[in-house]
Amino acid sequence: MERIYLDHAATTPVDPRVVEAMLPYFTANFGNPSSIYQEGRAAKKAIEESREKVAEILGAADTREIIFTGSGSEADNLAITGVAWAYRKKGNHIITSAIEHPAVLETCKELEKHGFAVTYLPVDEYGLVAPEAVRDAITDRTILVSLMHANNEVGTIQPIAEISKIVRAKGVLLHTDAVQTAGSIPLQADELGVDLLSLSAHKFYGPKGVGVLYAKKGTRLHRLIHGGAQEGRLRAGTENVAGIVGLAKALELAAAGLEETVPRLAELRDYFINKIFSRIDHVKLNGHPTRRLPGNINVSFEFVEGESILLNLDLEGIAASSGSACTSGALEPSHVLLAMGLPHETAHGSVRFTIGKDNTKEQLDYVLGVLEETIARLRAISPLYREQRGRKEK
């Protein structure tokens, strides 16, 4: 059976052109970039050329603003923990939101154990942070605001440029986790007005285990990984040369394909959402109707539970994800959906489909058919659906 992959927010397949660019750095050009002889110099050159590419695409003023890391999570950790300790004398207050990725939330929770105070801003029903709420939360002890560019579960895009004006006016640093936006929104750090920005290669058809932290010149960071002098002394460890080359190549392709990909994905997304609503009743769209990532569809099917939907889809060859507690092994459903005010039942019934550049309308039509059958089958055995119908008949 042909598999239909609709979980591109989780990860993406590596583009063959990226694989090709990476391969020589596993074999012929295997040298350690810190070595002074030819093999080392070749590897070093590959890293520095990659850094230049990334700097250019992100609108960095200086290649030293680009720090390669071991993942998007590490970039988030370095941004937040790195600023926290470097600016500890200035203040101990950090502002973030309730819907951040665990790489941000757990880092903030860890800092709370070490004397930092963290404000977790609420979001509205669409997952948006109010810029005024950011303004009101800033005190003279605030050193950092960390808000994600787009949410990985519901795809809501935050007004980062607008928030930046407020944060900058107060002389506070701004970090954005842009892991979900590369390849979906043009990423110009200067236009966004951020001091720090995180990326992860595997979300834009690059390899897993490599990320970037953009850190604007003059932003002080305390290093997390101690050892050698790699990455401007901010990240010790022999560089993942092939990974870095792959990240740069993937980002280059993503930036070049943006104009063509975004409208196509947005059209497929809207088609899929409209069809779901016309074919299945008791459905709720989670996230913002328009301010959302072009490939993101997040819907709750009332009276059924997400994991059972995913299992059914998987049996029919379809890969998607859910915010239900039962899929994560946690006791609570998605913290993002709960922060948006969804009742637990509705959060448990959420399914996220994230479309990628290779998905087709035909695939989506097949998925719609399977989805309709699946929801009908699961509702037929759900006690909640019966009760609902009973209420209606009365």
Partner: protein, 129 residues
């Protein structure tokens, strides 16, 4: 992550639906944790003559409900009553550890259905009034 038995019961649930003339109905779980199981029993000559379930929940919740109905159907009430959540999980060849709690409550729902049956049942020797 699931055994073949779980997937079989999930995909082909046995005795799913409502029993119109049930002698007892029991429910376990709650929507907050994401799993609700409802068991309907029909008792004849002190045996589980018929049984069915309705479940809102994950694959494990549906499979445990389904296999429970098979495990107790046809048994005497006294025999059937001995069923535990653990025995249900074992009959499925085991469940992932995180599913042992809120997704594995079918036996609880069944015990509640029997309790309801006892309370509904007209008393054999009505007390003099």
């Amino acid at each position: 992550m699931y055994t073949e038995a779980v997937m079989d019961h999930f995909y082909n649930p046995r005795n799913a639906g409502e029993l119109a003339d049930a002698d007892g109905v029991g429910e376990a779980g709650n929507p907050v944790c994401g799993d609700i199981m409802k068991i309907y029993v029909k008792i004849e000559d002190d045996r589980i003559a018929d049984i069915s379930f309705q479940t809102f929940g994950c694959g494990a919740a549906i499979a445990t409900s389904s296999i429970l109905t098979e495990l107790v159907k046809g048994k005497t009430v006294a025999e059937a009553e001995k069923i535990t959540n653990r025995a249900v999980a074992e009959a499925l060849g085991g469940l992932p550890p995180q599913k042992m709690h809120c997704s594995n409550l079918a036996a609880d729902a069944f015990h509640k259905a029997l309790e309801a049956y006892r309370q509904n049942r007209p008393k054999p020797a009505p007390a003099a009034e």
